[in-house]
Symmetry: C2
Subunit: 190 residues, 2 copies
């Protein structure tokens, strides 16, 4: 069983905690102002993209050697027409550059919170797409996801985070314009 | 009923023709060396991305005023690790720039041929995502798609072609690495 630390208090943080809890893992929420934090093996940054810089500043050294999961969708919420990261990069790539001693994964950003909580997208079991450069780290996270009743797919190296963020962005625009609901979205048929 | 011209002879060309045919539309295949081509209202370029330049050279003026549908996924097939178009652009944006008098749409590139032919992705009805700057053109194509038994979603302006191409790219890499099958992929739950 893994020990999972979750930063964040929103619906995504709660939903991911519930998945890990269903799988029998130990989950600890880490508050913004908590002192003396002892992180688990897996640290999920369930925060807005704009909060990542501060987390790196505060906790960068303590995150060394750990699996760090970036779930962010770095949308430009003023225009709703682009991401805020460079077109040839990704939020996850930037985080990995800032945390060179951590095993950074991109995951959960293509899942709406409601589909993590329910475990389903329509009739399909919710699938978590995971990108990253460390195969063991991906396998660990996939194990947590599947133990919680969801499916997991290794989506490739961290370079694929760019496409996962494009997918997350597209899905959010479709829900925001009411083409799909926040409990629907892209389901994966293997 | 619309008159649809399809360039291309592959499985995607055949599958899109079948969808339009099921909807009662007139479909004409246009061969590479056909002289005196009379295009229909909707022209589907069901060809590899590398063939678009030649089509623009040959037929650019005849495509003026028509709905031109770009279905391509401009993958770098040597590395299978990126697209061949600029990171901040798309194949569709480049085509639209080359055909300023046509109504260029991005569509079908997120659908595997098998899911267009069968009409389903797993238990879900196949959904065609359509991006473009002309609302009437998008409505025309959506009408053709739905008349053929599929679903259609307006995915936004042609700027969203970038995300559709990212989605198409990701889906192809997942199938090529056997994480999903060529009859599966991303289904849309509204």
């Amino acid at each position: 069983m893994a020990h999972i630390s979750i930063l964040g208090t929103g619906t995504m943080a709660q939903a991911i905690a519930a998945v890990a809890g269903r799988g029998g893992h130990t989950v600890t929420f880490v508050g913004k102002d908590d002192a003396d934090v002892r992180f688990g093996d897996v640290v999920v940054l369930a925060v807005p993209h704009s909060a990542l810089g501060d987390i790196v500043s505060r906790h960068g050294s303590e995150l060394a050697g750990r699996i760090v999961v970036d779930i962010t969708n770095p949308l430009d919420f003023e225009t709703f027409d682009s991401l805020t990261v460079p077109a040839d990069g990704s939020a996850a790539a930037e985080l990995a550059a800032a945390l060179p001693q951590s095993h950074v994964l991109k995951a959960f950003n293509t899942n709406f919170a409601g589909t993590l909580a329910s475990g389903t997208v329509g009739e399909l079991t919710t699938t978590v797409l995971i990108a990253g450069d460390d195969a063991d780290a991906k396998a660990t996270l996939a194990g947590i996801v599947t133990s919680g009743g969801l499916k997991a797919i290794d989506a490739g190296t961290l370079r694929r985070a760019r496409e996962l963020e494009a997918l997350g962005f597209l899905q959010i625009t479709l829900a925001a314009t009411e083409k799909i609901s926040w409990t629907g979205g892209f389901g994966v048929v293997a």
